[in-house]
């Protein structure tokens, strides 16, 4: 490879040009735009293909974009995905049904509770224990999922703002998200990858003081959320960058299987929490948020409004949990409920000493039961189930297949990021190259979910 840096005349090992049978290839790493523009100028009438990513700050992870340009106009946009494929679905086939939660929570890492919930709901349907899940477990699931919706939308808005150069939106977005992950840490022990929602209920009861923390958080968020509206809603630069960008109408959404804020930005109030309720969402009071502009600006407004609705849901769930102190959080069937118990000791969270004393010192049967369930797990009757839920990005569903064994025969996840990313082409072709970034940010794809 021969390359020169025009300003210093020295060899640049990373940015340079090379000749291929397809034409000249330029590698751009920044601060060398002058030399690239000069070199390209002599080919200005030719077709230019820009490869963006897979490592690029505004591609939301390891997404590769292949853009064909005519001047500043995008004539063709394609996505290259698969850089984050980790074989989570295949791995789940070699672990027990409960261990599967630990794997699938890592897919869409900004919305871990949704990955867990859709898988767990599918397993519970196959086990035929959907009606036996304790009320407190369902309310805690709703609470965690709605807190998760807030944190996920905050990241969507924060990174979307950063890509426009609106760095304050980024800093305040991550500031608030930190509060939510602190709540997750308090309740589940982990900030991400919780593996907290388990077949039959949730892993643990709420720790002492959690409800107070949640109420403080809601009160604080009610003060902080208006800042997003003040910064963005009427901001002329923000509006100019987002309005009429990434346009996709209802017919396009239906054909491409788009769900979530993208679909609701066309004015269609489709939200699985309302239309096909699960986890008891029919008992809560909230509104489905829509906008009617079918563009990136509408999707931004929907996300902000949905955070307000999620706060309402969190408040209602917290109020219900206050009346459910001491209630069970795991199904009563001891052949399904996870036997191991955790407790907080002097060195942090660990195995409950009471539980260990019981199985090791008091009851041989309890030890056998613990051992069988933890190592072998429970068998799930043969069949298949698909219980989709409304994740922050749209319809998230797990196709769970059992052959009657103690491990999933197949678990396939319909991740909304994967499906919605197909809309990149229609949203950005014919537009300016700078608007591609805005269109993708309005889809809010998470590559961990896309590639799984």
């Amino acid at each position: 490879m021969t390359s020169t840096n025009s300003t210093t005349g020295e060899q640049d090992l990373f940015a340079g040009t090379s000749e291929t049978s397809q034409g000249r290839v330029f590698t751009v790493t920044g601060q060398d735009w002058d030399s690239v523009v000069d070199s390209v100028a002599e080919h200005a009438d030719e077709r230019i293909v820009v490869n963006m990513g897979p490592q690029h700050p505004s591609t939301h992870g390891v997404l590769r974009l292949i853009l064909e340009l005519e001047g500043e106009t995008v004539t063709e946009a394609r996505c290259g995905i698969g850089y984050l494929h980790t074989g989570i679905e295949k791995n789940m086939e070699f672990r027990s049904w409960v261990q599967g939660v630990t794997f699938c929570t890592r897919m869409d890492y900004l919305a871990p509770f949704y990955n867990e919930a859709t898988y767990v709901l599918g397993v519970e349907r196959l086990l035929d224990i959907e009606d036996d899940i304790p009320e407190k477990a369902q309310v805690m699931r709703v609470l965690l999922m709605e807190l998760n919706r807030i944190s996920s939308h905050l990241v969507a808005i924060a990174t979307g703002g950063m890509e426009l150069g609106a760095l304050t939106v980024m800093t305040i977005g991550f500031r608030e998200r930190e509060l939510v992950v602190d709540l997750f840490e308090l309740i589940t022990g982990l900030r991400m990858n919780h593996a907290f929602i388990r077949p039959g209920g949730v892993a643990q009861d709420l720790p002492p003081g959690a409800l107070d923390e949640i109420r403080d958080f809601v009160a604080l968020m009610k003060k902080r959320l208006p800042e997003y509206a003040d910064l963005c809603n009427a901001n002329p630069i923000f509006r100019a960058r987002l309005e009429n960008v990434g346009h996709l109408d209802l017919a396009g959404c239906m054909a491409l299987g788009m769900t979530g804020p993208v679909l609701r930005s066309t004015g269609y109030a489709w939200d699985l929490r309302k239309t096909q309720p699960y986890c008891g969402y029919e008992d809560y009071d909230f509104e489905v948020q829509t906008w009617d502009t079918s563009d990136s600006y509408g999707r931004f407004r929907i996300r902000v409004n949905e955070m307000w609705e999620s706060l309402k849901l969190v408040e209602q769930a917290a109020a219900r949990l206050a009346d459910l102190e001491g209630a069970p959080v795991m199904v009563a069937d001891k052949k399904i409920a996870w036997p191991s118990q955790l407790a907080i000791g002097s060195d942090g969270m660990g195995n409950s000493l009471d539980h260990i004393r019981h199985i090791m010192g008091e009851s041989m049967e309890a030890l056998i039961h613990h051992f069988k369930l933890v190592t072998e797990g429970f068998a799930v009757p043969p069949g298949q189930a698909y219980v989709p839920i409304e994740s922050p990005r749209g319809e998230m569903g797990a196709h769970v297949v059992s052959d009657g064994g103690t491990r999933p025969f197949r678990a396939h996840f319909r991740d909304p990021s994967f499906v919605n990313l197909q809309g990149t082409s229609v949203m950005s072709e014919g537009g300016m190259v700078a608007d591609v970034i805005v269109a993708i940010a309005s889809i809010d794809p998470v590559m961990g979910g896309v590639d799984r």
């Binding site: 295949k90 491409l256 239309t275 569903g397 196709h399 499906v419």
Partner: protein, 222 residues
């Protein structure tokens, strides 16, 4: 199954057994002294349902009259087994008939049943009608030696990436797909990783002198 005959033996054709499960502790040969190694259990999937299926299930079944091989109703979900020859016609009816109107396709997911001889590869479509607020599942099979299923891209453009993924992971060829390239694995990857005959991979891990084999080679409960 109706209320009065639910305790009677299943009618012929109702039960479908795919494969068998042997033993209990994943031990082959002489290692097992428990006696459980002799256990043989058939894997029985939910059998075909008889009419009436109940509620709107019958409306959808009527709309697909003559195109269905088998209907399974299990845990409140309905699955239509349709042969691959009939798939495009059935999908068009499902999408376009006003009383069906399954305008939304959630995607297709592959399942590999190595013991289901002659129909090893299954493609499972999840369809939703937003008009009627209904969900169904359509299951299509193809043999391993002839892994072809017609593409539904023209009816549901969303299936573009889903069909590529199913090709990538299971080797099902969707005839008519404009560019059935790998999507998750690298272009030159050999094999189709989510088939049951494809190993999970991994290396043995040594810890304090003991060696733990990779997950797919460990002794496991069956």
């Amino acid at each position: 199954m109706t209320e009065e005959n639910k305790n009677l033996p299943a009618q012929p054709g109702e039960i479908e057994s795919i494969g068998e499960r042997h033993g209990m502790f994943g031990v082959q040969g002489s290692g097992d002294t428990s006696g459980y190694g002799g256990i043989v259990k058939p894997t029985i999937y939910p059998g075909a349902a008889q009419r009436p299926y109940g509620g709107w299930f019958d409306v959808v079944a009527d709309g697909l009259d003559g195109l269905i091989d088998k209907v399974v109703v299990h845990r409140g979900e309905i699955t239509f087994h349709i042969s691959r020859e009939n798939l495009p016609e059935a999908a068009k009816k499902l999408r376009d008939q006003p009383d069906l109107r399954f305008e939304f396709c959630s995607g297709v997911s592959g399942v590999h049943y190595p013991d289901d001889i002659g129909r090893e590869l299954h493609a499972v479509y999840h369809l939703m009608s937003m008009t009627w607020n209904r969900r169904i599942r359509v299951e299509v099979t193809c043999p391993d030696v002839d892994p072809h299923i017609p593409s539904l891209i023209a009816l549901y453009p969303t299936l573009d990436w889903h069909e590529r993924e199913t090709w990538d992971f299971f080797g099902i060829i969707f005839d008519g797909h404009p560019s059935l390239a790998r999507i998750e694995m690298p272009d030159d990857w050999p094999g189709h990783p989510q088939r049951k005959d494809y190993p999970l991979g991994g290396i043995p891990v040594e810890y304090k002198g003991a060696t733990i084999p990779p997950p797919d080679e460990r002794r496991a409960y069956s």
